[in-house]
């Protein structure tokens, strides 16, 4: 179970594949106010328009005050109806602030949502069951979140390969915005396959779980770095890139999940407000084992929020420049990547 302190964006969060395998607590107490938009609407490139993947990804949600009615011009159903439709459980009337403090103090916890008609819930029984389930830390989520087959999106004359470790639709939308076509590939695609599409760059996406479990992707990333391929890592993708270059990652006690995180860009000394959703983090000390240098740091706890390769062709951010949910202040990361790709086009290695 994790918590997110964003005040809007439950639709985006719940469909973010990075939340796969997690029960999400909203610290904002009023959830469901503006309902749920038509989730099957797609844009001209076939990307779901209003959501971040094709389904609800969280395993369950915890709410203080669920709005059973909703109103918004884009809404077609209530949050409750949506959960019912996708058979995802939720619970409300919970002191979510108390729960958040517990998570903050005890760290991210394995948990179960229990439904019962009687008061006699057998807690021991549930605890036993809980112990028997695979721990989040050891689980490979790729079979749930990564695409099974290669997908082509948009005009791929100039293209970017996205290694799908659970990518959010907004990353795809941003690539289309900077005028590249997209080749979306399974997380364990071989490097030869990737290069066969002659991509201008590769994005390793966000996604759930411990980055070390994505060994195949780490290996691929390592080769891409050697190839001097422009690579953009986002969130899990950033951690994978770091691991690919001999840096280390570790698990944060309760992660960063919010839309208000200040990150300092070392290059221009400016602080940007970012959207975040990660439980693991790049070890700052370990960067010296790698060719990466620090690019962004979290202004509060000084953790690594972005790295730049010394050859300046690979960049990675721990936060979500694509926002959704959250602020768009770091959308420029995509422009930075575009620039790298274009420069690379002019002077191939």
């Amino acid at each position: 179970m994790v918590f997110n302190t964003g005040m809007v964006g439950y639709v985006e969060s719940m469909t973010d594949p990075s939340y796969n395998g997690q029960i999400l607590t909203f610290t904002y107490p009023l959830i469901g106010n503006y309902g749920v938009p038509n989730i099957s609407t797609k844009d001209e490139n076939g990307i779901e328009k209003h959501i971040e993947s094709d389904r609800i990804q969280v395993k369950g949600i915890v709410i203080h005050d669920l709005s059973l009615v909703s109103n918004h011009w884009s809404s077609v159903m209530t949050l409750d109806e949506w959960l019912y439709k996708e058979q995802i459980p939720g619970i409300y009337n919970v002191d979510t602030r108390k729960l958040t403090k517990k998570l903050r103090e005890d760290g991210v916890t394995m948990c179960a949502l229990v439904v019962s008609d009687s008061d006699n819930v057998n807690i021991e029984d549930i605890q036993t069951k809980l112990k028997k389930t695979v721990n989040y830390n050891n689980k490979n989520f790729m079979e749930y979140v990564s695409t099974k087959k290669i997908q082509i999106i948009g005009d791929t004359n100039s293209n970017v390969v996205i290694i799908d470790t659970g990518t959010k639709n907004s990353i795809l939308r941003n690539i289309i915005d900077i005028k590249y076509g997209i080749i979306k590939m399974p997380w364990n695609t071989k490097v030869e396959k990737i290069l066969s599409y002659k991509p201008n760059g590769v994005i390793i996406s966000n996604g759930p779980g411990d980055p070390k479990i994505c060994a195949d992707t780490i290996k691929t990333a390592n080769i891409l770095l050697e190839y001097n391929m422009p690579v953009l890592g986002i969130c899990l993708g950033a951690q994978i890139l770091a691991l690919a270059d001999h840096a280390k990652t570790y698990k944060l006690k309760y992660g960063h999940r919010s839309q208000n995180k200040p990150c300092i860009n070392i290059d221009d000394s400016r602080t940007y407000i970012t959207s975040q959703n990660h439980g693991y983090c790049i070890d700052r000390e370990s960067l010296k084992n790698s060719e990466f240098r620090l690019w962004f740091i979290n202004a509060d706890d000084k953790t690594v929020e972005g790295i730049k390769h010394k050859k300046n062709k690979s960049i990675a951010v721990q936060f979500h420049p694509e926002a959704a949910p959250g602020p768009y202040d770091c959308k420029y990361i995509f422009d930075t990547f575009k620039k790298i790709m274009e420069e690379n086009k002019n002077c191939p290695k």
């Binding site: 639709v11 884009s74 002191d95 903050r104 839309q259």
Partner: protein
Amino acid sequence: MLVNPNIATIQTDAKFADKIYLLPVTTEYVNRVIEKERPDGVMLGFGGQTALNCGVNLSDCGSIKKYGINVLGTKIDSIKISEDRQLFKEAMSNCNVPTLESEAVESFQDAKIVAKRLNYPVIIRVAYTLGGRGGGVARNEIELYEIVNRGINASMVGQVLIEKYIGNWKQIEYEIMRDSNKNSITICNMENILAMKVHTGDNIVVAPSQTINNSEYHLLRSASIRAADHVNIIGECNVQFALDTHSSKYVAIEMNPRLSRSSALASKATGYPIAYMSAKINLGYTLDELQNNITKKTTACFEPSLDYIVCKHPRWDFNKFEFASKKLGTTMKSTGEVMSIGRTFEEALQKAIRMLDINKDGLVLNKYDKDIDDEEDIENHLMNPDNSILYYIAAAIKKKIPIEKISRLSSVDPWFINKIKNIVELENKLIRNKLDMKLLREVKKRGFSDRQIARATNISEYNVRQTRKQIGVVPVVKRIDTLSAEWPTQTNYLYLTYGGDKNDFQITNGGSIIVLGAGPYRIGSSVEFDWGTVNMVFGLQENGEKNVSVINCNPETVSTDYDICERLYFEELTIERILDIIEFEKSKGVVTSVGGQIANNLTLQLHKNDVNIIGTEPINIDKAEDRSKFSSILDRLNILQPAWKKFSDLEESLEFAKFVKYPIIARPSYVLSGASMKVVWSENDLKKYFKQAVISLEYPVVISKYITNALEVDVDGVSDTKNVIIGSIIEHVDNAGIHSGDAMMCIPPRRLDKITIDKIIQHTKNIAIEFKVKGPFNIQFIVINKLVYVIELNIRASRSMPFVSKLKNINLVKLAAQAILNKPLQEITCKNNNKNFEFGVKIPQFSFMQLDGADITLGVEMQSTGEVACLGHSFYDAISKGLIAAGYKLPKNGCVIVIMDHNNIKDERILKSIMILHDIGFTILTTRIIRKILLQKLNDDRNDNIKDLDIQQHNVIELLYQKKIDMVINISNTMQTTRNDKIINEEYQIRRKALELGIPVLTTIQIMEVFIKTLQWRNKKKKTSIQPLNFEI
């Protein structure tokens, strides 16, 4: 150095600035301060629109450049962009932020053409103004004429803006901080429940927004940052958007490059100290260098995350103004506001309603719920909202009007209406079902008070509380921590909610003293009580009592700054909630003497609930408030008082009134600011009063002789039951009969002789000791023919205490803190050796302009919404500045209209004043009869400077519009026994029009005398003095 004539605010306490100038914030006076002090820099963003306008003027007249002053924060050019509508639009278009199609015009002719093109209705906005002053919605050409003319006059630059009316769009605001390194953050956004239809100052507002989704939230957020970036805001600004309800279409409405009411609200709503951080940014710090004061670990360069909902509700005082329209629109009319915090919308809303102190226990189940049943009436009210819009929405739901229709008529988003429906449905459940634990929990979670529950279930409030506590249905205390518990915090910024089951912390240091604040600013209880609350806290701390908590719910106050006291409860000032807090705090007692009306009225109730009142014994307070007890004590002390008697029966009171002769004052026992107190002029009036007034048996009506034409005096003091310290004797400039809150006041007295002063001092000491006053008190006297009458004793801090304390350099409230801690008061030799000034005057500030239709004649009902004070070497030196600070124009010469009952002119004082005007060169326009009298007096029947006025009303209004009139003297008959119930409409129209056009109108003899003598004083080319209030540098 601070320039601000507001005497009652904590800001003008010596503690907060090195030098304080109580001067009008006008170009002239600020320029003089600049000349004298030669400052290095100036901050313009902290004094509202007044300071901003003044800064622009200072720049335009070259002073900023001439004296090499650094404008700290947002620069003048940027201010101009955000203030000039046309420049603003161009700037927004350049940074890709859409605005509404509109045009700036400077005449009605141009306005007409634009309005036709845009199609009616159109909205008229006034450039350079505050509180939307003078703007409005025009549905046709006639309305357009009216509003455009008024607006052009109110605007500093004679400019108004005509644009399409989009009243049904959502009104969303963002508060932005930006530093010189271009770091930008939004502190919070806010959604106005009454949409664009109603000025945000009069709107019911929630933070954060509730009905917009992620993409809209961040679309507007990005737009606000782009705007701030483009205009180059350094510090704080507010951007207001209108958002379509059927698409993501939006427009930026305006941008305020300064601290505003909204930023104060945003600060309190989030715990992010916007003004403080903004000041640092103005000094050159960048956001990332600053620390989040709440966590003490994280940076100030972040965006607060809330895990509660905040609801701001305005407080209106329409019932103080007989003719004022209660309709809400684009002009702000409220006098204050409350902010409530909850974990459901229903909880926040019902808490806010209770905080307003308007005799309501929530949205429903009130003692005096008006029966609203007529569907047409309901629909009409939904369409044209007034101060009871929420109750009409509830009525509409009860009437089964579909939600969509309610929304269409009212422009309120269906989400909010559905939440109100939840409240209505729970009311039904409460009435129909047995009260079990589940229902009890549910209604408490939705903000129902014990009193509402008691009313629905026919159980006493006391029993509801006991039952509730027995089964463990109690509120929990939660912290406001700026980041939704993501980081550990030790903040003392607290609220109570039923939306949870665990307190954030437990009290380890019981035995605190709780100080009750004053709730919303309203007429009669305003910023002076915030000053009192804060100084009481400081006083207690300085006297060794560190464990002090405050309860208050007004986001515009310093007493709700969380760093003032040990623990701040941003909470209701209701008996239920105060008891909840006392129990949680294990408090040793409550101070009720500095929080104005609310706190004062709670004293006896708290006492009955076994709460220790720290200060004067409640039994003695009761003796002062109960007229018969009070009176018999005065008799025993041989102190005179106007004839009075207590009645619950009409016949007896008629007889009494006949005996003492009309006029009389009728009032219920517990009053402050004259609420439901009325001057009765005739037998018929008295009969009517008995029909209208709500007179409970417990508190019958008290009738006393109304003494007119007498001198009124206030005394503010403090006592420890044995020693009495008198702050000052304050003389009213106006005669008795004007509410003391509306009266101009003067220190030291200038019309009292030594014997009278001694008598007043003796009476004061005798009374304070007799009533065993422990803490602050105020006594009102009337002096007539050297006889001294007592009219009132208030055992609490008074409205004039900041005035007295600051001018005499004796902090009465801090002394009161000493007294209530049982530390004896020592005789104080007058510390005021301040030779900077001899006189100080306090002048009320009125807001008639904002209240459509309100008449400006004064009476026993208090009507002023604020006050200023200025200092001087002479009375006229002080008052001359005071009048300007309160917004009067002081004409040098020109034309004055004199209209009054011609019998009035025979009054020697009036005649003399008008002669002065004539002598200093004014042209006098008056009725034929008055002219004759004047000419006779002058012995000159050909005098050209006294002219006949054709009293055809049209002509006068026309003259006013043509700016041919510089002053209006209209001594109405209000103050005389022959007062007709029907106000002479003509005169009212003239007064109202003159007011709207900014022409001074003099309505009482005293004010007229003072005003004209001031003009005379100024005419002799006397230059006003400027001097700081404090001087110990």
